[in-house]
Subunit: 147 residues, 2 copies
Protein backbone atom coordinates (compact mmCIF):
# COMPACT_ATOMS: atom_id res chain seq x y z
CA UNK A 1 0.00 0.00 0.00
CA UNK A 2 2.89 2.33 0.64
CA UNK A 3 4.88 1.22 -2.36
CA UNK A 4 5.11 4.75 -3.70
CA UNK A 5 6.63 6.03 -0.52
CA UNK A 6 8.97 3.06 -0.22
CA UNK A 7 10.35 3.79 -3.63
CA UNK A 8 10.64 7.44 -2.78
CA UNK A 9 12.48 6.86 0.49
CA UNK A 10 14.85 4.42 -1.19
CA UNK A 11 15.82 7.05 -3.70
CA UNK A 12 16.41 9.39 -0.82
CA UNK A 13 18.68 6.91 0.95
CA UNK A 14 20.73 6.56 -2.20
CA UNK A 15 21.05 10.33 -2.41
CA UNK A 16 22.28 10.51 1.19
CA UNK A 17 24.81 7.79 0.54
CA UNK A 18 26.00 9.41 -2.67
CA UNK A 19 26.61 12.59 -0.76
CA UNK A 20 28.62 10.69 1.83
CA UNK A 21 26.27 11.81 4.57
CA UNK A 22 24.35 10.02 7.29
CA UNK A 23 20.67 9.37 7.35
CA UNK A 24 18.45 9.79 10.39
CA UNK A 25 15.04 8.70 11.63
CA UNK A 26 14.06 12.34 11.83
CA UNK A 27 14.72 12.97 8.17
CA UNK A 28 12.64 9.99 7.19
CA UNK A 29 9.79 10.98 9.45
CA UNK A 30 9.78 14.48 8.05
CA UNK A 31 9.69 13.12 4.52
CA UNK A 32 6.98 10.66 5.43
CA UNK A 33 4.80 13.32 7.00
CA UNK A 34 5.20 15.64 4.04
CA UNK A 35 4.76 12.84 1.53
CA UNK A 36 1.45 11.76 3.01
CA UNK A 37 0.06 15.24 3.44
CA UNK A 38 -1.70 16.58 0.38
CA UNK A 39 -1.51 20.13 1.62
CA UNK A 40 1.29 22.63 1.21
CA UNK A 41 2.66 23.01 4.72
CA UNK A 42 4.80 25.61 6.40
CA UNK A 43 7.70 24.46 8.57
CA UNK A 44 5.68 25.21 11.70
CA UNK A 45 2.61 23.38 10.46
CA UNK A 46 4.71 20.40 9.49
CA UNK A 47 6.40 20.42 12.89
CA UNK A 48 3.04 20.47 14.66
CA UNK A 49 1.74 17.63 12.52
CA UNK A 50 4.84 15.55 13.21
CA UNK A 51 4.69 16.18 16.94
CA UNK A 52 1.06 15.10 17.00
CA UNK A 53 1.08 12.14 14.63
CA UNK A 54 4.62 10.81 14.47
CA UNK A 55 7.15 11.73 17.11
CA UNK A 56 6.74 14.49 19.63
CA UNK A 57 10.45 14.72 20.33
CA UNK A 58 11.48 16.10 16.94
CA UNK A 59 12.53 19.70 17.45
CA UNK A 60 11.46 22.47 15.14
CA UNK A 61 15.08 23.39 14.42
CA UNK A 62 15.48 19.97 12.88
CA UNK A 63 12.42 20.49 10.72
CA UNK A 64 13.87 23.75 9.44
CA UNK A 65 17.31 22.23 8.90
CA UNK A 66 15.95 19.18 7.12
CA UNK A 67 13.56 21.14 4.90
CA UNK A 68 16.35 23.47 3.91
CA UNK A 69 18.63 20.53 3.17
CA UNK A 70 15.90 18.81 1.19
CA UNK A 71 15.19 21.90 -0.83
CA UNK A 72 18.87 22.32 -1.68
CA UNK A 73 18.84 18.81 -3.05
CA UNK A 74 15.55 19.27 -4.91
CA UNK A 75 13.75 16.66 -2.81
CA UNK A 76 11.15 19.18 -1.72
CA UNK A 77 10.21 22.58 -3.04
CA UNK A 78 8.56 25.63 -1.56
CA UNK A 79 6.29 28.42 -2.66
CA UNK A 80 5.55 31.83 -1.21
CA UNK A 81 1.79 32.21 -1.21
CA UNK A 82 0.43 35.74 -1.30
CA UNK A 83 1.07 37.77 1.82
CA UNK A 84 1.87 34.83 4.08
CA UNK A 85 5.04 35.32 6.07
CA UNK A 86 6.26 31.76 5.67
CA UNK A 87 6.97 29.33 2.88
CA UNK A 88 4.76 26.36 2.05
CA UNK A 89 6.55 23.09 1.30
CA UNK A 90 5.64 20.06 -0.76
CA UNK A 91 7.47 16.97 -1.97
CA UNK A 92 9.19 17.96 -5.17
CA UNK A 93 7.01 16.42 -7.84
CA UNK A 94 8.87 14.69 -10.64
CA UNK A 95 6.41 16.36 -12.95
CA UNK A 96 6.72 20.12 -12.76
CA UNK A 97 3.58 22.11 -12.03
CA UNK A 98 2.42 25.54 -10.96
CA UNK A 99 -0.20 26.64 -8.45
CA UNK A 100 -3.54 28.36 -8.38
CA UNK A 101 -4.78 29.58 -5.01
CA UNK A 102 -8.32 30.48 -3.99
CA UNK A 103 -8.14 33.79 -2.17
CA UNK A 104 -11.29 32.94 -0.22
CA UNK A 105 -10.85 29.38 1.04
CA UNK A 106 -7.04 29.27 0.56
CA UNK A 107 -7.30 26.00 -1.31
CA UNK A 108 -4.27 25.29 -3.53
CA UNK A 109 -4.69 23.52 -6.86
CA UNK A 110 -1.86 22.38 -9.07
CA UNK A 111 -1.77 22.60 -12.81
CA UNK A 112 0.61 22.11 -15.68
CA UNK A 113 0.35 23.89 -18.97
CA UNK A 114 2.91 23.20 -21.70
CA UNK A 115 2.07 26.37 -23.61
CA UNK A 116 2.91 28.35 -20.51
CA UNK A 117 6.28 26.66 -20.16
CA UNK A 118 7.11 27.30 -23.79
CA UNK A 119 6.04 30.91 -23.54
CA UNK A 120 8.28 31.47 -20.52
CA UNK A 121 11.35 30.27 -22.38
CA UNK A 122 10.47 32.58 -25.26
CA UNK A 123 10.06 35.53 -22.95
CA UNK A 124 13.37 34.81 -21.24
CA UNK A 125 15.18 34.53 -24.57
CA UNK A 126 13.64 37.76 -25.79
CA UNK A 127 15.18 39.47 -22.76
CA UNK A 128 18.57 37.87 -23.27
CA UNK A 129 18.12 35.44 -20.38
CA UNK A 130 18.75 31.73 -20.21
CA UNK A 131 15.75 30.49 -18.27
CA UNK A 132 16.54 28.39 -15.20
CA UNK A 133 13.35 28.33 -13.21
CA UNK A 134 10.18 30.22 -12.47
CA UNK A 135 7.64 30.90 -9.77
CA UNK A 136 4.09 31.27 -10.89
CA UNK A 137 1.01 31.49 -8.72
CA UNK A 138 -2.43 32.43 -9.96
CA UNK A 139 -4.94 33.88 -7.51
CA UNK A 140 -8.67 33.69 -7.98
CA UNK A 141 -12.01 32.49 -6.68
CA UNK A 142 -12.54 28.76 -6.97
CA UNK A 143 -15.68 27.10 -8.29
CA UNK A 144 -16.96 26.31 -4.80
CA UNK A 145 -16.51 29.85 -3.47
CA UNK A 146 -18.06 31.49 -6.53
CA UNK A 147 -21.57 30.54 -5.43
Amino acid sequence: MDKKFDKFINNFRVLIKDLGLKNSTQREIILKALFHSKAHLSAEELSTLIKKEYDSSIGIATVYRVLSFLEDHKVVSSINIGNANSKAYEINPSDHHDHIVCTKCKKVLEFFNPDLEKLQVEIANKNGFKLIDHDMILYGICAGCKK
Copy 2:
Protein backbone atom coordinates in the same frame (compact mmCIF):
# COMPACT_ATOMS: atom_id res chain seq x y z
CA MET B 1 12.61 67.85 -14.58
CA ASP B 2 10.56 66.16 -11.93
CA LYS B 3 7.28 66.58 -13.75
CA LYS B 4 6.53 62.87 -13.63
CA PHE B 5 6.90 62.75 -9.91
CA ASP B 6 4.92 65.95 -9.43
CA LYS B 7 2.03 64.46 -11.31
CA PHE B 8 2.34 61.26 -9.34
CA ILE B 9 2.40 62.96 -5.96
CA ASN B 10 -0.58 65.10 -6.90
CA ASN B 11 -2.60 62.01 -7.66
CA PHE B 12 -1.56 60.67 -4.31
CA ARG B 13 -2.70 63.83 -2.51
CA VAL B 14 -6.07 63.53 -4.18
CA LEU B 15 -6.31 59.93 -3.02
CA ILE B 16 -5.54 60.92 0.56
CA LYS B 17 -8.13 63.67 0.43
CA ASP B 18 -10.73 61.36 -1.09
CA LEU B 19 -10.17 58.95 1.75
CA GLY B 20 -10.69 61.73 4.26
CA LEU B 21 -7.21 61.17 5.68
CA LYS B 22 -4.24 63.36 6.42
CA ASN B 23 -1.06 63.57 4.44
CA SER B 24 2.41 63.74 5.97
CA THR B 25 5.92 64.71 4.97
CA GLN B 26 7.01 61.15 5.76
CA ARG B 27 4.62 59.60 3.29
CA GLU B 28 5.78 61.91 0.55
CA ILE B 29 9.43 61.24 1.29
CA ILE B 30 8.86 57.51 1.21
CA LEU B 31 7.09 57.79 -2.11
CA LYS B 32 9.80 60.07 -3.46
CA ALA B 33 12.56 57.70 -2.45
CA LEU B 34 10.81 54.71 -3.96
CA PHE B 35 9.82 56.60 -7.08
CA HIS B 36 13.37 57.67 -7.83
CA SER B 37 14.92 54.31 -7.12
CA LYS B 38 14.94 51.98 -10.07
CA ALA B 39 15.55 48.97 -7.86
CA HIS B 40 13.00 46.83 -6.06
CA LEU B 41 13.60 47.60 -2.40
CA SER B 42 12.69 45.85 0.82
CA ALA B 43 11.25 47.89 3.66
CA GLU B 44 14.59 47.80 5.46
CA GLU B 45 16.56 48.83 2.37
CA LEU B 46 14.16 51.66 1.71
CA SER B 47 14.41 52.78 5.32
CA THR B 48 18.23 52.80 5.13
CA LEU B 49 18.14 54.74 1.86
CA ILE B 50 15.75 57.30 3.32
CA LYS B 51 17.80 57.72 6.48
CA LYS B 52 20.92 58.33 4.42
CA GLU B 53 19.60 60.48 1.60
CA TYR B 54 16.43 62.14 2.80
CA ASP B 55 15.60 62.31 6.48
CA SER B 56 17.33 60.33 9.19
CA SER B 57 14.49 60.81 11.64
CA ILE B 58 11.92 58.68 9.82
CA GLY B 59 11.43 55.51 11.82
CA ILE B 60 11.27 52.10 10.25
CA ALA B 61 7.82 51.46 11.72
CA THR B 62 6.57 54.35 9.63
CA VAL B 63 8.13 52.86 6.53
CA TYR B 64 6.35 49.58 7.18
CA ARG B 65 3.07 51.29 7.98
CA VAL B 66 3.22 53.53 4.93
CA LEU B 67 4.24 50.75 2.55
CA SER B 68 1.41 48.60 3.82
CA PHE B 69 -1.03 51.48 3.45
CA LEU B 70 0.26 52.22 -0.04
CA GLU B 71 -0.04 48.61 -1.10
CA ASP B 72 -3.61 48.43 0.16
CA HIS B 73 -4.41 51.38 -2.05
CA LYS B 74 -2.52 50.03 -5.03
CA VAL B 75 -0.01 52.86 -5.01
CA VAL B 76 2.88 50.45 -4.62
CA SER B 77 3.16 46.72 -5.13
CA SER B 78 5.47 44.05 -3.83
CA ILE B 79 7.02 40.81 -5.00
CA ASN B 80 8.61 37.88 -3.19
CA ILE B 81 11.90 37.17 -4.93
CA GLY B 82 13.27 33.64 -4.65
CA ASN B 83 14.29 32.63 -1.17
CA ALA B 84 14.49 36.13 0.25
CA ASN B 85 12.63 36.50 3.53
CA SER B 86 11.32 39.96 2.76
CA LYS B 87 9.20 41.60 0.11
CA ALA B 88 10.59 43.91 -2.53
CA TYR B 89 8.54 47.02 -3.25
CA GLU B 90 8.15 49.22 -6.29
CA ILE B 91 5.86 52.04 -7.32
CA ASN B 92 2.78 50.39 -8.77
CA PRO B 93 3.16 50.82 -12.48
CA SER B 94 0.01 51.87 -14.28
CA ASP B 95 0.95 49.26 -16.84
CA HIS B 96 1.03 45.77 -15.40
CA HIS B 97 4.22 43.77 -15.80
CA ASP B 98 6.01 40.70 -14.49
CA HIS B 99 9.63 40.18 -13.47
CA ILE B 100 12.64 38.25 -14.59
CA VAL B 101 15.52 37.97 -12.14
CA CYS B 102 19.15 37.11 -12.82
CA THR B 103 20.19 34.50 -10.29
CA LYS B 104 23.81 35.61 -10.54
CA CYS B 105 23.78 39.39 -10.35
CA LYS B 106 20.27 39.71 -8.84
CA LYS B 107 19.28 42.25 -11.46
CA VAL B 108 15.52 42.52 -11.95
CA LEU B 109 14.04 43.21 -15.38
CA GLU B 110 10.42 43.88 -16.08
CA PHE B 111 8.41 42.57 -18.98
CA PHE B 112 4.88 42.42 -20.24
CA ASN B 113 3.56 39.72 -22.50
CA PRO B 114 -0.09 39.80 -23.57
CA ASP B 115 -0.09 36.13 -24.60
CA LEU B 116 0.93 35.24 -21.09
CA GLU B 117 -1.90 37.23 -19.59
CA LYS B 118 -4.43 35.61 -21.89
CA LEU B 119 -3.08 32.16 -21.15
CA GLN B 120 -3.39 32.71 -17.41
CA VAL B 121 -7.06 33.56 -17.71
CA GLU B 122 -7.60 30.43 -19.79
CA ILE B 123 -5.80 28.26 -17.25
CA ALA B 124 -7.83 29.72 -14.40
CA ASN B 125 -11.08 29.15 -16.27
CA LYS B 126 -10.12 25.59 -17.09
CA ASN B 127 -9.74 24.98 -13.34
CA GLY B 128 -13.05 26.62 -12.50
CA PHE B 129 -11.42 29.76 -11.10
CA LYS B 130 -12.19 33.39 -11.75
CA LEU B 131 -8.73 34.91 -12.07
CA ILE B 132 -8.03 37.87 -9.81
CA ASP B 133 -4.29 38.26 -9.84
CA HIS B 134 -1.04 36.44 -10.31
CA ASP B 135 2.57 36.36 -9.23
CA MET B 136 5.06 35.39 -11.84
CA ILE B 137 8.82 35.58 -11.62
CA LEU B 138 11.22 34.02 -14.09
CA TYR B 139 14.73 33.15 -12.94
CA GLY B 140 17.68 32.85 -15.29
CA ILE B 141 21.10 34.09 -16.27
CA CYS B 142 21.13 37.51 -17.87
CA ALA B 143 22.99 38.44 -21.04
CA GLY B 144 25.80 40.08 -19.09
CA CYS B 145 26.38 37.14 -16.75
CA LYS B 146 26.26 34.56 -19.54
CA LYS B 147 29.76 35.51 -20.70
